[in-house]
Symmetry: C2
Subunit: 182 residues, 2 copies
C-alpha cells in the first residue's frame, strides 16, 4: 500500500492582484475559475454545532449536490464521514424548499470564487469569499512522505510569492461562523 | 380554461388471473409492467401522522425519487403539496443512509407490481401489493365533465369484468398502516 499525504497551506491575502501577477510571471498554468455557493442548514431538533455534523447544499458550475458531513473521526487527521448525493442542477429551489418543509433552516451561505493555477508540483487556489475576503490555498500535489520536507517546500513557495507562511487551519465555514459571533 | 377531472375506482381482487384473461378477451392493450418500491420515513422530531405529511423514497424502473408530501389542502379534493426531487438511480443506498444520519427512520415499505392496460377510454392497473394482496384500479382517461356519467361508465366497466363496483378510497400506504395496527 502506498500512502499519499496531502499538504496544504492557507493564507489570508490583502492584495490578490499582486499574487495573480506574480503567478503569471512564474509561468503558472491557469486552469480555470470555479464559482461555488454552499448553503448550510440547521437541523430541526439537533444542534449540529454540538454534534459536529453538517448538512449542505452546494452549487458549483453546472452541478448541484446534497451533502451530509459526520463528526470528525479523529482529532489527528482531517477526516469525516461524507455522504454526497448528486441532484439535477435545476432542482436547487426544490431541494431547499423540501428541506425547509422538513424543518431544516438555512443558517449560513458561503459564496466562493476560486481561480485555480498549477505550477510545478503545486496547485494554487486564489479564493475570494463573500464577507470574508481573499485567500490563497497552496497544495503540494507531488507525493511526499516527509512532513517536514513538505512543509519546507510550501513555506519556500509562498515566500517566493511575497507572503508570510502563517497558515489558517479553520475552514471558511468556521471563519464565517466566528465572524457572525463577533 | 378547460378543467379535466380524474375519475378512478379501486377494488380488492381475489383472482387476478381471471381478470387478466378477461382483459385479453376484450382486446385490451397491454402497456407494460411497473415495479415500484416506496420507502416511507418518520421525522426525527415531528409526528407525520398528526401533521399529515410524508417523506418518501421511490424506486421505479430506472428512476429514484425523493418526495415530500404536505398535508391535504382540502377535504373535498385529493390535493396535496408535493415536492419531487429526481436522484440518480444508483444513489438509493446513499439517500437512505443520509436520511438515517439525519434521524429519519424507515417505517414502512410499499412494494407494488403493476400491470398497465389501456382499453377504450380506460386505463386499467392490475396491482399486486406485498402484504396486502391484489387490486384493480380503473381510471377514466377520456374527458368527462359529469361526475354521475363518469361513475356510471366506471361501474359498467368493472361489472363487465365480473367485479362488484365497491371502491376503496384509502391509499395502499393507509391500508398497510391499518394492517400494522390490527
Amino acid at each position: 500500500m502506498v500512502l499519499l499525504y496531502e499538504y496544504e497551506i492557507k493564507i489570508k491575502v490583502e492584495n490578490l492582484e499582486k499574487i495573480r501577477k506574480k503567478l503569471q510571471e512564474m509561468n503558472a498554468n491557469f486552469l480555470g475559475v470555479i464559482e461555488e455557493l454552499d448553503i448550510y442548514f440547521q437541523h430541526p431538533c439537533r444542534d449540529f454545532r454540538r454534534t459536529d455534523e453538517a448538512l449542505r447544499v452546494r452549487i458549483y458550475n453546472n452541478k448541484l449536490e446534497l451533502t451530509y458531513k459526520g463528526p470528525k473521526i479523529s482529532d489527528k487527521i482531517k477526516a469525516r464521514e461524507e455522504i454526497n448525493i448528486e441532484l439535477r442542477h435545476e432542482d436547487l429551489q426544490k431541494i431547499v424548499e423540501l428541506l425547509e418543509k422538513l424543518g431544516f433552516k438555512k443558517f449560513l451561505k458561503v459564496k466562493k470564487r476560486r481561480e485555480v493555477y498549477r505550477i510545478g508540483g503545486f496547485e494554487v487556489n486564489l479564493d475570494s469569499i463573500e464577507d470574508l475576503g481573499d485567500f490563497i490555498e497552496v497544495e503540494l500535489k507531488s507525493a511526499c512522505k516527509d512532513e517536514k520536507e513538505a512543509s519546507n517546500m510550501l513555506t519556500n513557495f509562498v515566500e517566493k510569492l511575497g507572503l508570510e507562511p502563517k497558515s489558517i487551519l479553520k475552514s471558511y465555514l468556521e471563519l464565517l461562523i466566528e465572524r457572525l459571533r463577533n
